[in-house]
């Protein structure tokens, strides 16, 4: 029972972590809460669904396709809705992000309709594997595996490549990075591309897991992933992973011990409590106020 719930929680949590990474990277670089991120996740799920049901491709190909599509979309959104606002107040950028999110979810509502769509039968062959007392499905293993691979890939890009170094420099100090000859605009576009790709992968995985894709799935998933990013310390990549896993596991355990109707409140209660005790999140760095 315990092991079973733990696996369920880790599977859900790794998806939260995938989405949370996008929030945390964008926030780390331009201190913007990208509220459209949840909608990118939703669009990713729909693209994956389209690829699987109309083009009959493998789930893995669908994930890659959705990632590429959302990558382009993320860069475009940044170009249209955030870049012109980089010099103005952060609140206007926030409203602009919310505008994008309303736009995308109503677009999805118009194109795909209000009812939840499911993946076709056998999109991914599900088998149950008995491990001790737990029934682990291959689907959960897929989710955990794909998330782990993507996160390792991200860690590699951020730590080992040149553009990753530029990203770290930009998030450290935007202006100095620009003075040092880093093309800051390109770094920001790249960050959006990376974050959106991860969100899209998360979207397809969630779509397969719950077998339901709907136009309003982005809002709650986005808010929770965002809570995960803050929980781990916003701006910190390992923090987002840890926060996502913690939220997923605690949500599943909360439901398992009988608080299913409070499901959505569990994540936020933990969030509020952690913020009150440690306002920078679990792995966040303390920001000193300049006078």
């Amino acid at each position: 029972m315990f092991l079973q719930q733990l696996v369920n929680g880790v599977a859900l949590g790794s998806v939260y972590a995938l989405i949370a990474l996008g929030y945390t990277m964008v926030y780390g670089i331009i201190t913007l809460i990208n509220f459209a991120h949840g909608e990118i996740f939703m669009v990713g799920a729909f693209i994956g669904l389209l690829l699987v049901s109309f083009f009959k491709v493998n789930v893995f190909v669908a994930i890659v396709g959705a990632m590429i599509f959302c990558m382009i979309m993320g860069v475009l959104i940044e170009l249209i809705a955030y870049r012109p606002l980089r010099k103005s107040s952060r609140l206007s950028a926030l409203i602009s992000a919310i505008g994008v999110s309303i736009f995308l979810s109503s677009l999805a509502l118009m194109v795909f309709g209000a009812d939840a769509k499911g993946f076709p039968e056998g999109a991914f062959p599900v088998q149950q594997i008995q491990v001790g007392s737990a029934d682990i499905s291959t689907l959960q293993l897929l989710i955990i595996g794909v998330s782990a691979v993507l996160m390792l890939g991200l860690e590699f890009i951020v730590q080992k490549t040149k553009i990753g170094k530029a990203m770290r420099a930009t998030s450290e100090d935007y202006n100095t990075a620009a003075l040092m000859g880093i093309n800051v605009n390109r770094v920001i576009s790249f960050t959006f591309a990376l974050g959106s790709a991860l969100a899209a992968a998360g979207g397809v995985l969630v779509g397969v897991l719950f077998n339901a894709v709907s136009f309003n799935m982005g809002l709650m998933a986005g808010l929770k992933a965002f809570a995960a990013a803050v929980l781990g310390g916003i701006g910190s990549i390992p923090g987002a992973m840890l926060g996502g896993l913690l939220l997923g596991v605690s949500e599943v355990f909360g439901v398992a011990i009988g608080y299913s109707s409070y499901r959505d409140a569990i994540a936020f209660t933990i969030l509020v409590l952690v913020l009150l005790v440690k306002p920078t999140g679990l792995l966040g760095q303390k920001i000193t106020k300049k006078v």
Partner: protein, 297 residues
């Protein structure tokens, strides 16, 4: 008197009246948020939570006690303000985005709480009996809206309001100047939530049906957009912002299915071309003086 007012309301097209009432309620709500975000500079993403507390309190007061509506609204506002102060006490220590996130989390918790709260019918929502007042609802809403405009205008230029602006501009400097920032922030939060509660009470009694899901994240965002669109910290701006955004979905109704699509694009468009809001940075006294040909140094 009541008959006269009723005939006055009857003379206006009901559809227009609906829009007007929506605008009136939006003004009360947005002014409340303007005190918190615009004046004090504390970003709150949970205004709808206080609106829902107000709406449910007001509805329950009407159902259980049948107080006259004016008294009911005062009770509602005070209850909401007390809840806000109790919550503000711990969370207003946070600043900037962390505060925004905390208020957002709190708003979700309130929503889930009402979705599971037996006395208010859980997720089914609550049917609200008509308000106990002789004055027709639309006029009532606008009287309250005008009263709140007057209230916030006075607050803004008072000693209290100037302290709030000082906190908005620089919290550390304000603290150094001897302003008790913690106390002022909680008071501003309570005042803004008082208006949110009153707005929620009006909303509940005008629509006569409330559902916890109506007060979600998007509602908070709607109200915030009104404040930012009009121009942070500007009372006329907030009034214009709420009038525009509260009526926009109605005016966009002719393209019914593209309505929300256009609304989202409109928000982005307005922010890109007018990042400080329609009336942000516009000083009305200055304009007035310039109009009569005087320049102020």
């Amino acid at each position: 008197m009541a008959d006269f007012l009723n005939s006055l309301v009857g003379a206006v097209d009901p559809y227009m009246m609906q829009i007007l009432v929506n605008v009136g309620v939006a003004i009360v709500l947005a002014l409340g948020l303007n005190v918190i975000v615009g004046l004090t500079g504390q970003l709150s993403l949970g205004h709808a939570a206080f609106m829902s507390i107000g709406a449910f309190t007001s509805a329950m007061v009407t159902i259980k006690t049948g107080l006259p509506f004016s008294l009911n609204l005062v009770v509602t506002g005070v209850v909401t303000a007390i809840v806000a102060a109790a919550i503000g006490f711990p969370i207003l220590r946070l600043t900037g985005d962390y505060l925004a996130i905390c208020t957002l989390g709190f708003a979700e918790i309130v929503k889930v709480f009402f979705l599971n709260f037996e006395p208010t019918n859980k997720a089914l929502g609550l049917t609200v009996p008509p308000a106990k007042t002789l004055i027709p609802m639309p006029i009532y809403v606008w009287v309250v809206a005008i009263l709140s405009i007057v209230l916030v205008t006075f607050v803004q230029s008072s000693r209290f309001g100037r302290a709030l602006k000082a906190i908005r501009e620089d919290e550390i400097a304000a603290e150094a100047m001897g302003i008790n920032t913690a106390r002022y922030k909680i008071q501003a939060f309570a005042l803004g939530s008082f208006l949110a509660g009153v707005g929620g009470g009006l909303y509940a009694h005008f629509l006569s049906y409330i559902n916890p899901s109506d007060f979600g994240f998007l509602k908070s965002v709607d109200i915030l957009a009104m404040v930012v669109l009009g121009g942070l910290g500007s009372v006329p701006g907030t009034v214009i912002g709420s009038s525009v955004l509260a009526s926009a979905p109605e005016f966009l109704r002719f393209m019914s299915q593209y309505r929300m699509l256009v609304y989202g694009a409109l928000l982005v468009f307005l922010m890109v071309f007018r990042p400080n809001g329609l009336l942000g940075g516009v000083n009305f006294t200055e304009l007035l003086l310039r109009a009569v040909g005087k320049k102020r140094k």
